[in-house]
C-alpha cells in the first residue's frame, strides 16, 4: 500500500497544519472565564446568536433561490444575451460585500442619487426611514446580491456537465419543465446547492465589514470589539469557540442533507446538457430577470463607484496603486495555487481511505473557515514566532541579522490565507471528486498505472473545471480579504483591499472607489479567464 501511504502522509501533514489554529480556539474554551465573558453571556450573547441566525438563514434561502434559478435558466435554456449573462452573472462576486454595503448606503442616503433624484426631478420628499438599509434586512440584501454567485457557479457547472439523460428521461416520462426542475434537477444537484449555500453561510458568519458598517451586533463584531476594544483575547476566543459551535452544527446539517445522497454519474458517459431555445415573452422575461439581478449585484454599484472615481481621480498617485495591484495579485495567486494543490491532495486522500474516522479527518480542515480572520491571525502569529525561535540557531548559521524571519515575511500571511480559505477549495474539489466517481481511477489502475500517475493523467484533467473554479473563487476572495491582511502583512505591504477598507472606515468613501474598482477589475478579468476554461465543452 506504498502509494496510499504517501498520499496519507501528505494529507496528514496538511490536515495537521490546517487544524492547528482550531486547537488554539478549543484550548481557549477551557481557560477560566472572566468578568467580561460572564457579562456577555448574561446580556448580549443571545442577541449575537439571534442576529447571526437571522442573517445566515435568510441569506441562505435567498441565495439558493436566486443562484439555483439562474443556474437552471443558463444551463437549460437559450435566450437573448445568454452567452454574456452566463459569465457576467458571476461578476457580483468581484465586489466585496463591505464595498457593496457602503456603496448602496451612499446610493440610498439623503444625499445619494435616489433621494436626490426624487427630490429634484419629481419633487418627492419621502421619509428617509424608507431608505434606511443599515439594518438586518439591508445586510441580508447586501449578502444575497453579492454572494449568490457561489450557489450559481457551482450549481451551473454541475447542471451543464451532468448526464443529460436524467433530464431527458424525465421529459420522456411525461414531466413538464417545472416538474423536471423540482423532481429531478433540485434533487440531483442537491450536493452542489448545499455546497454553494454552505460557503455563503460561512462567508456571512465571518464577515466583519458589512455588519460593522451597518452597526449590527454579530459574533464577528463582538470578537473584534472584545479583542481590540476591551483587550480581552480570552473572551474573544470564547466567542470564536461559540461561533465554531454554530459552524459545526451547520456542517453537520450539511452532511445530513447530502450525506446519504451522494450522486455520481450512474453512467460514466458524460454528455453536456442540450439547451432549449426560448421564444417571445418567455425569452424576454428570462433576460430581464437575469439583467435585474446582474444590475443590482454589479452594474448599479459599479456605476456609483465610477461616478465617485471621476470625482476623486488623481488624489491617489497611480504608481502607488500599481504596487498595490502587484502585491494583491502576488499573494492571492500563490495562496490560491497552494489551496488548489492541498485540496486535491486531501480530497484524494478522502476518496482512498475507508472508515468513518478517516473520512471525517479532511472535514476538520475546513473548520478554519469558521474562525474569524482576526483569531486565525493571533494563532498564526503565535505559531510563527515559536517557529522563528526554534529556527533561530539556523538563522545565525545563515548569517541573518534578526531572529524574526518567517514571522515578518509574506509566508505568514499566505499560511493564514490558506487556513482561512481552504474550505472553499476543499468543498468544490470534493464535489468534483464525488461527480467523477471512482470507476475511471479503478480503470486506470487496472491498466497498470499507479495512484499518483492516475491522479495526474485521469483525475486532474477530468476535474479541470472544478480546479479552475476553485482557483478563481479563492483568488477573488483573497483579493477582498481584510482582517488577516491588515494584521499579518509585512511592514509597508499594502494591498488594494487594505487601502479600500482604510478609506471607507475613515468615511472617505469616494476615495475608496479607486482601490475598490481595481479589485472589481482584477476579479472581473479572472472571471473572464474562468469562463473561457469552463466554456470548453468536452471534446
Amino acid at each position: 500500500m506504498a502509494n496510499v501511504n504517501s498520499w496519507t502522509v501528505l494529507a496528514g501533514i496538511i490536515i495537521i497544519l490546517l487544524f492547528l489554529p482550531n486547537l488554539t480556539i478549543i484550548s481557549g474554551i477551557f481557560t477560566p472565564s472572566n468578568e467580561n465573558w460572564e457579562h456577555m453571556k448574561e446580556f448580549v450573547l443571545t442577541t449575537y446568536i439571534k442576529n447571526s441566525f437571522i442573517l445566515i438563514g435568510f441569506t441562505a434561502v435567498l441565495t439558493i433561490i436566486i443562484g439555483l434559478s439562474l443556474a437552471w435558466m443558463i444551463a437549460r435554456y437559450q435566450f437573448p444575451f445568454h452567452r454574456f449573462l452566463k459569465w457576467a452573472l458571476i461578476l457580483p462576486l468581484s465586489i466585496p460585500p463591505f464595498i457593496g454595503a457602503y456603496t448602496y448606503h451612499g446610493i440610498v442616503s439623503y444625499t445619494g442619487v435616489v433621494q436626490t433624484t426624487l427630490r429634484e426631478h419629481f419633487g418627492l420628499e419621502l421619509n428617509p426611514v424608507y431608505f434606511d438599509i443599515m439594518n438586518l434586512p439591508g445586510a441580508i440584501f447586501i449578502y444575497t446580491i453579492f454572494l449568490y454567485p457561489y450557489v450559481y457557479t457551482i450549481t451551473r457547472v454541475f447542471l451543464s456537465q451532468q448526464s443529460a439523460s436524467l433530464i431527458e428521461s424525465a421529459r420522456v416520462l411525461g414531466k413538464g419543465p417545472w416538474q423536471v426542475f423540482f423532481q429531478v434537477v433540485i434533487p440531483v444537484s442537491r450536493v452542489s446547492i448545499i455546497g454553494g449555500a454552505s460557503l455563503v453561510v460561512l462567508e456571512v458568519l465571518n464577515d466583519y465589514g458589512v455588519v460593522k458598517y451597518y452597526g449590527i451586533q454579530t459574533f464577528s463584531t463582538a470578537i473584534f470589539q472584545t479583542w481590540f476594544g476591551l483587550g480581552d483575547i480570552d473572551s474573544a476566543i470564547k466567542l470564536a469557540a461559540s461561533l465554531m459551535g454554530i459552524v459545526i452544527i451547520i456542517l453537520m446539517v450539511e452532511k445530513l442533507l447530502r450525506g446519504r445522497r451522494q450522486y455520481s454519474y450512474s453512467t460514466t458517459k458524460v454528455r453536456p446538457l442540450p439547451r432549449i431555445q426560448l421564444k417571445g415573452a418567455k425569452a424576454f422575461f428570462a433576460s430581464v430577470y437575469c439583467f435585474v439581478i446582474l444590475s443590482l449585484g454589479f452594474f448599479i454599484p459599479v456605476l456609483q463607484l465610477v461616478d465617485w472615481l471621476i470625482l476623486t481621480f488623481g488624489k491617489i498617485p497611480m504608481d502607488e496603486f500599481l504596487i498595490y495591484v502587484k502585491n494583491s495579485v502576488l499573494v492571492a495567486g500563490i495562496s490560491a495555487t497552494c489551496i488548489v494543490v492541498f485540496a486535491l491532495i486531501v480530497g484524494n486522500f478522502g476518496r482512498l481511505v475507508h472508515g468513518k474516522f478517516a473520512k471525517l479527518l479532511p472535514k476538520l480542515t475546513i473548520l478554519g473557515y469558521s474562525i474569524p480572520g482576526a483569531v486565525i491571525a493571533v494563532a498564526v502569529v503565535t505559531a510563527f514566532i515559536a517557529l522563528d525561535r526554534f529556527l533561530a540557531p539556523l538563522y545565525q548559521v545563515l548569517g541573518a541579522n534578526s531572529t524574526l524571519v518567517l514571522s515578518v515575511s509574506l509566508v505568514m500571511l499566505i499560511t493564514a490565507y490558506i487556513i482561512r480559505f481552504f474550505a472553499i477549495g476543499y468543498n468544490s474539489i470534493e464535489a468534483g471528486y464525488d461527480k467523477i466517481g471512482t470507476d475511471f481511477r479503478d480503470a486506470s489502475r487496472s491498466l497498470g498505472v499507479g495512484l499518483t500517475k492516475t491522479f495526474f493523467k485521469v483525475d486532474v484533467p477530468m476535474m479541470k473545471g472544478a480546479i479552475i473554479s476553485v482557483f478563481i473563487l479563492v483568488f477573488i476572495d483573497i483579493l477582498k480579504e481584510i482582517p488577516l491582511t491588515l494584521i499579518l502583512r509585512p511592514f509597508n505591504f499594502d494591498t488594494l483591499s487594505t487601502k479600500a477598507f482604510q478609506y471607507a472606515s475613515d468615511e472617505k468613501i469616494m476615495e475608496a472607489s479607486q482601490a475598490s474598482l481595481l479589485i472589481v477589475c482584477l476579479s472581473a478579468i479572472a472571471i473572464i479567464i474562468f469562463n473561457k476554461f469552463l466554456d470548453k465543452e468536452p471534446k
Partner: protein, 247 residues
C-alpha cells in the same frame, strides 16, 4: 494451474457476515469463466477483489504461481497485470479512442505501441474510429474500445463486469458472438460476471453460480443445463450455446 483462487472471503466494513464466503476456483489458460448470480450475490465483489480494488478478509489468489494476494502479501492493482472492463466502460472522456488504448502501454517503445494499437483496433474492428472521442461512439463501439483498452497491455487475466447490461437486445447477441471471438482469438483468460443466464451459457467455457456470497454450482454450460428446471428456457439456451460453441 494457470490461475488459482482459494478460500477467498470478504466482508464490508460495518457489516456482519461475509459478502463472499470461501470462494475457490482453478482456471486454465485461455478459459472463459462466467460468474452468474442475482444482484447482491457477491459476483461483482469477486471481480473487485481479483482486480485488487478491495482487500480480502482472507484467502489466496495466484496467477502462474505469482501471488496476487494471500495472508502475507497484497499486490496493488497496477502491479497485477489484470485488465478490467467496467459495466459502463469507464472510457476516459478527455481522451480519444487511441489515447484510451495507449493509456496502459506506457512501458512499451513508441514503435511497439503503434503496432499494438493497430493490432487491437483491428481485433475489435475499430480502425477508422481511432481519433473519435467516447461520446462520439455507439454503446457497442464503446464496449469494444473498453475491451481493446483492457486487452492491449496483454494482461494475464481480463475481468468483465456485466459486459452486456448497457446494450440493446439485438446488439447483445452480436456482441456476445464478437466478444467470444475476440477473447478466443487473443487467447486471453477471462472472467465475466452477469445476472443473465443466456449470456453465461452463450459465452462461457465454465459457469460459477453464486448465491448469497457462496458458490452454489460450478460446471460447463451443458452440465448446468441438465439441472435446469425450465425446459423452455433451457431449450432456448441450448440453441444459443450450440451457436457459440461453433465460434
Amino acid at each position: 494451474m494457470y490461475i488459482s483462487i482459494q478460500d477467498v472471503c470478504f466482508s464490508y466494513p460495518n457489516s456482519e457476515g461475509y459478502a463472499l464466503d470461501q470462494f475457490s476456483i482453478d482456471i486454465e489458460k485461455g478459459e472463459v469463466i462466467s460468474i452468474l448470480g442475482r444482484s447482491g450475490s457477491g459476483k461483482s465483489t469477486v471481480l473487485r477483489l481479483l482486480a485488487g480494488l478491495e482487500n480480502p478478509t482472507r484467502g489466496s489468489f495466484t496467477i502462474q504461481e505469482e501471488v496476487m494476494f494471500d495472508q502475507k502479501a497484497f499486490l496493488q492493482p497496477e502491479k497485477r497485470g489484470i485488465g478490467m472492463v467496467f459495466q459502463d466502460y469507464a472510457l476516459f472522456p478527455h481522451m480519444s479512442v487511441s489515447e484510451n488504448i495507449l493509456f496502459g502501454l506506457f512501458n512499451m517503445k513508441k514503435a511497439d505501441k503503434k503496432k499494438r494499437l493497430q493490432e487491437v483496433l483491428e481485433l475489435v474492428e475499430l480502425q477508422e474510429f481511432s481519433n473519435r472521442y467516447p461520446h462520439q461512439l455507439s454503446g457497442g463501439q464503446q464496449q469494444r474500445v473498453a475491451i481493446a483498452r483492457a486487452i492491449a497491455p496483454n494482461p494475464h487475466l481480463i475481468l468483465l463486469d456485466e459486459p452486456f447490461s448497457n446494450l440493446d437486445a439485438e446488439l447483445q447477441v452480436k456482441i456476445r458472438k464478437d466478444l467470444r471471438f475476440i477473447l478466443k482469438k487473443a487467447n486471453i483468460t477471462s472472467i465475466f460476471v452477469t445476472h443473465d443466464e443466456n449470456d453465461a451459457h452463450a459465452l462461457a467455457d465454465r459457469i460459477v453460480k453464486l448465491k448469497d456470497g457462496s458458490i452454489e454450482l460450478i460446471g460447463q454450460p451443458c452440465d448446468l443445463l441438465r439441472n435446469h428446471t425450465s425446459t423452455n428456457v433451457a431449450g432456448e439456451i441450448t440453441l444459443q450455446a450450440k451457436e457459440f460453441v461453433k465460434v
